[in-house]
Amino acid sequence: MSLDFQNPPSEREFQQKDELLRQAVCRVYRAGIVISAILIIAGIALEWAGSLGWKCPLMQRKYYSWHWETILIFSGLLCLTITPLARVGATLLFSIRQREWVLVMLTSAVLLLALVSMIISWSP
């Protein structure tokens, strides 16, 4: 067994945890971007097709005065908006599992402040 004197076990363990966290955060970001890009592209494609004279049966229907292409783009934007919060949420879960209490404290503070800020801004 070889010993790594430059990287003691605690340091190596920390680096492994850090790498796992990075990968988890990357996955959340990629999922958010892919889903929102698909929804937005579908919405824009429907909109362009409609403006160029193609009659899609889906476009004739409305949901509460909203056209389907608008609903698709709006859903994509909403998905994009919550992606950074999902990243914080994923880190919070990860840090609870790994018992990284400093990270738990920091991520909880970010989530709490973001939610409070949104509630205050939404209220009339």
């Binding site: 970001y29 783009i73 709006f74 934007l77 994009l80 914080v88 503070a109 800020s117 801004s121």
Partner: protein, 281 residues
């Protein structure tokens, strides 16, 4: 609007957003400085819709460039989590101050701060490694393991995080400006990380990109639920920014820090002049 005008307009927005994506990924900014003038001056879109699209571009920029920076070890995730609460708290204070401060004074404050930040970036000594070596170690940064390392030219370079309390204060302030002006405040974040906290420029850009995502989420949600984001404008903006950041994040890794820094100074100069002009107009 005629059938072809809609497609043409979407393509122009897509092109401008690509430019914004490249700028944002290279300098850790949202890209609103590119999108807002194009939408308002060239496409005659009203300022509210342009600001909504700008907020969305900040968000798209942060979400699409962060995975690449994280994968290459450029973003400091722990430091981002330490600074995000300060940024969010600042944005919250900014939301309260919106009704109190005048627009002109806001532009004046922002322009003046940018001007000083630009001056500090120009006068900052180049031998960052030497300053890093002699910098006193921050106890809190060590306890929370906020310092890190990154790869440049095939070599692993370590850095130490300094002046945590002053940096936190600046991030609070940046969040407040972001909340007041509806921007990501990357213009303040990057100099705060690089000049005050002594973090290498590339790491500062990547970490700032990660941090502005949270501030932009809060602002974008407000715009979205108030109905101030036009999906027909914001849709092409998101796609353009995603394409642009793919190019910009590659350029950030390949270009030397000195060139990036000079280009950033140029952008800062342009934005600070614009802000000061709006303040005195």
């Amino acid at each position: 609007m005629t059938e072809f005008a809609l497609v043409e307009r979407s393509l122009v927005i897509l092109g401008a957003s690509m430019g914004a994506g490249i700028t944002g990924a290279m300098f850790g900014l949202g890209g609103g400085i590119v999108i807002v003038p194009v939408l308002t001056l060239f496409l005659k879109i009203d300022i509210r819709s342009a600001l909504g699209a700008s907020v969305i571009s900040v968000l798209a920029n942060s979400c699409s460039s962060s995975p690449a920076y994280l994968r290459h070890g450029l973003s400091n995730l722990r430091l981002a989590f330490f600074l995000e609460p300060w940024n969010a708290l600042g944005a919250l204070s900014g939301a309260f101050l919106v009704g109190i401060l005048e627009d002109r004074s806001l532009f004046g404050i922002y322009g003046t701060v940018l001007f000083f930040a630009m001056g500090a970036t120009i006068l900052h000594p180049r031998n960052m490694e030497i300053r890093q070596f002699y910098a006193p170690k921050n106890l809190w940064a060590e306890r929370m393991k906020l310092s890190g390392s990154f790869e440049e030219n095939g070599k692993q370079k370590a850095y130490v995080v300094n002046r945590l309390s002053l940096g936190s204060f600046l991030f609070y302030w940046a969040g407040m400006i972001g909340g007041l002006l509806g921007s990501g405040a990357g213009m303040i974040n990057v100099p705060a990380l690089h000049l005050v906290m002594k973090i290498p420029y590339k790491v500062a850009v990547a970490t700032s990109t990660l941090i502005i995502g949270i501030t932009a989420t809060m602002t974008a949600s407000v715009f979205l639920f108030r109905g101030e984001i036009d999906p027909r404008i914001a849709g092409p903006v998101v796609l353009g920014v995603i394409l642009g950041t793919a190019i910009g994040s590659r350029l950030l890794r390949k270009l030397p820090s000195s060139i990036l820094k000079f280009a950033f100074i140029g952008v800062m100069f342009w934005v600070s002049l614009q802000m000061l002009y709006k303040a005195v107009k």
